[in-house]
């Protein structure tokens, strides 16, 4: 990777994710995650040189520029501090911004931290309707559910995917989440349970959709010197890739589309960039764990295919065969993923944090044996902002 300095994750912190956390304020949640990450890294607040704050739309919790309120709670006063916001991709982009802080050589240690209280709003999907163009799209009842339902219908038409195949993804995720103490939704459910859950927007049923979660996450990034000093088993950031596409979904369908909507084809470019930097030529063979941003049961297949784990249309068969189960060919979302916890402003960071824990061998009951490389993704806007991060046990 042609950066000036090595960058590694040396500490990870997450709170439990729940619908409501009435006993803590927003800033206290952020502090809990920051403290946990610092403790994990064996650092104290004075060891941190700069802070990157991860927070998506503040309308979810009702305080504009809420990160400024959190400054004292995450021990940022007197230090360089900035907030990153790329919608649902925020946590992934914040990690990339934190990476730039350290890779530039300007800072030795950076705390990337954020929190969200999505359930503080009475209607998150109304706020998410307001992300669309005022003149053309507000009135179409577009929100993140209906938006991705449309692209899922297109994918199903192209590849013959069934609702039961998506239901299997939910079953696997909820089962994986049983081993993750932070996960919001978890349990041994059946395909039949998913199929019988209330219809929301075809082909989605309630269980195909992530929860609205409250919680916080943080990671500590460090340069080579600080990594050596404080962490015997870091997760090196070996590859980063990001891509922004058009907001208009109609421009992403048809023979002349630059990036096909149903394929989440932005990941072809972002994934290839990250893999190239990380020296990954065969993702399925060289990567053991992926933590995908999957707020819907249909979000995994196109990502896996566009990043290059399998060919277009193959992921559903591999999923049916158990190839993505815990400890199988490729462990997909051993944490339970976004389907089980979605604190939007930090979800992308949680993906990175959970991937880093796997590389660092600290994933507890979720741990997959022998993880040398793990990949994390994030998606924001109208599936238009994507980020991809590859973490490795060895620096490339």
């Amino acid at each position: 990777m042609p950066n000036k300095n090595r960058v590694a994750v040396i500490g990870v912190g997450e709170t439990a994710f729940k619908t409501n956390v009435s006993e803590k304020t927003y800033v206290e949640l952020a502090q809990d995650a920051a403290k946990a990450a610092l403790d994990d890294a064996g650092l104290v607040p004075d060891d941190i040189d700069a802070i990157v704050f991860s927070m998506a739309p503040t309308q979810f919790m009702g305080v504009n520029d809420v990160e400024k309120w959190a400054v004292d709670s995450v021990w940022a006063a007197g230090k360089p501090f900035m907030r990153i916001h790329t919608g649902g991709a925020t946590g992934g982009s914040a990690l990339h911004a934190g990476y730039a802080h350290v890779a530039s050589g300007m800072y030795r240690t950076v705390l990337v931290v954020g929190a969200d209280r999505v359930s503080d709003t009475p209607d998150a999907q109304h706020i998410l309707n307001l992300i669309w163009d005022l003149f053309y799209e507000h009135d179409f009842a577009l929100n993140t559910v209906t938006m991705t339902a449309l692209s899922t219908q297109r994918y199903m038409h192209q590849h013959g995917t069934t609702e039961e195949q998506y239901a299997r993804v939910v079953v696997r995720s909820r089962k994986n989440a049983l081993k993750n103490p932070h996960a919001h939704l978890k349990g041994n459910i059946t395909i039949d349970d998913v199929m019988k859950s209330p219809r929301i927007s075809w082909p989605y049923k309630l269980f195909d959709i992530c929860p609205r979660s409250t919680g916080a996450a943080a990671v500590v990034l460090a340069n080579q010197e600080m990594t050596k000093k404080h962490c015997s088993r870091p997760a090196f950031i070996n590859g980063i890739g990001g891509l922004t596409s058009t907001v208009f979904m109609g421009d992403r369908v048809g023979p002349y589309a630059d990036a096909e909507l149903s394929a989440e084809a932005e990941f072809i470019t972002a994934g290839k960039e990250a893999c190239t930097q990380a020296g990954i030529t065969n993702p399925m063979k060289q990567i053991q764990v992926v933590e995908l941003y999957d707020p819907f049961s249909s979000t995994q297949f196109p990502q896996l295919e566009s990043i290059g784990f399998c060919k277009p249309g193959e992921a559903q068969r591999l999923s049916d065969e158990g190839a993505f189960d815990h400890g199988a060919m490729l462990t997909v979302n051993p944490s339970g993923g976004t389907l089980c916890s979605n604190p939007i402003g930090v979800t992308g960071l949680v993906r990175v944090a959970d991937a880093a824990l796997q590389v660092m061998g600290k994933a507890g009951e979720s741990q997959v044996p022998g993880v040398r490389n793990a990949l994390a993704t994030a998606i924001g806007g109208s599936v238009q902002f994507v980020s991809c991060t590859i973490l490795g046990a060895d620096h490339v």
Binding site: P2, V71, T86, S93, H96, I127, L128, L243
Partner: protein, 362 residues
């Protein structure tokens, strides 16, 4: 540092840019910056954006604005603090060695947003929101505090207003508002004692874009001549609560300046030009007194926010003016032999955050 400004553009300011959507403002400014740098969008390897959802009136404003800002199918990240913090992000991405040619854009069309309501909603819900704190009141508290610390008199403030508008009147990129008379200053109403309305820089619509590149990129493109080299960069946030120490000491402002200038081969005293993000006359007087500048250093020759004040990206406007100074392109407000210029930006209630960028002519 090994980061350069290759081209820039500023959207003509107005109280209300009525004939364009925000998307059009951003596109026009980004395109003008690319043209200034003689760069095609396809050459860019990344984009940085600085925007504010709440001032734009949207939940994820970059969904609609990333494409006009040149980000279609590019690696793009947005920060929400201020335009000058966007510059800090962009510079670090270049300094990381991972990126080499980028476009940074920031904007403000607060004519379409209730600015004070947006600012009031920045207050946390338990203590500061119930008492009705907003931007003007926060600036009023700041004014009280720095008046005491820096011994600012009514005459100092009147002089600052007149001199700011005099400089701003000459700036071809500003609003060119007329200089207020003594009677207008005296008759101006209080917005939050001791702050009077005429002492506030009027907020405008506007936007800035800059093309930024690495030294490596320049070596591979010897035909391209940068406008300026980035020599120093620092930013910092201070505590959220508006205590007298935070308000009156200007510790964040002074320390940020010190850190940025300490990265250069010269010091604060060797600066030829400083462009300050002085949102009020109180800021202007206090900032000047807090800095250790040489007698020959020109402070805010552009008129600063009194020339144009697209609030969210005002700091980036100061950076653009500083770059124009060291590249000899500042026009009627050009300072003779300006080789080293610093730009300042602040954000948050009563300058919770400060950023400083130092540029040298190339």
């Amino acid at each position: 540092m090994d980061t350069y400004v290759l081209g820039l553009a500023m959207h003509p300011p107005a109280v209300w840019v009525a004939n364009k959507r925000l998307e059009e403002m951003v596109f026009d400014t980004a395109k003008a910056a690319l043209d200034d740098a003689r760069i095609d969008r396809q050459q860019l390897d990344h984009i940085s954006i600085a925007g504010c959802d709440e001032l734009d009136g949207r939940s994820i404003s970059s969904m609609l604005l990333s494409a006009p800002a040149g980000a279609y199918l590019k690696d793009e990240i947005k920060t929400t603090d201020s335009g000058l913090i966007g510059f800090c992000l962009e510079a670090m991405r270049i300094e990381s060695g991972r990126y080499h040619l980028g476009l940074l854009s920031s904007w403000n069309k607060s004519s379409t947003a209730p600015l004070e309501d947006v600012m009031r909603m920045r207050c946390e819900p338990f203590f500061t929101r119930p008492i009705g704190l907003n931007m003007s009141i926060a600036d009023g508290l700041f004014a009280q505090s720095v008046s005491y610390t820096y011994k600012i008199s009514a005459a100092d403030l009147s002089n600052a207003v007149v001199e700011s508008y005099k400089r701003a009147e000459k700036n071809p990129r500003g609003m060119r508002a007329s200089v207020p008379s003594a009677s207008e200053i005296d008759a101006s109403p209080y917005v939050a004692a001791p702050l009077r309305k005429i002492q506030q820089a009027p907020v405008t619509d506007g936007g800035v874009s800059m093309v930024i590149c690495s030294g490596d990129w320049l070596n591979k493109h010897p035909g391209s001549k940068p406008l300026a080299k980035l020599s120093g960069l620092a930013w910092r946030i201070d505590e959220y609560q508006l205590g007298s120490e935070r308000l009156g000491s200007l510790n964040g402002f002074k320390e940020t300046f010190k850190r940025a200038t300490s990265m250069t081969d010269f010091g604060q005293t060797q600066l030829n030009v400083v462009e300050l993000d002085s949102q009020t006359a109180f800021h202007d007087v206090a900032f000047r007194r807090a800095l250790d500048l040489s007698a020959g250093c020109e402070v805010s020759p552009s008129g600063g926010p009194f020339a144009q004040n697209p609030y969210f990206c005002s700091g980036l406007v100061q950076a653009a003016e500083a770059v124009l100074q060291v590249s000899g392109r500042a026009g009627a407000v050009q300072v003779k032999n300006a080789k080293r210029a610093a730009a300042h930006g602040c954000h948050g209630f009563a300058q919770q955050g400060n950023a400083v960028a130092v540029f040298e002519g190339v």
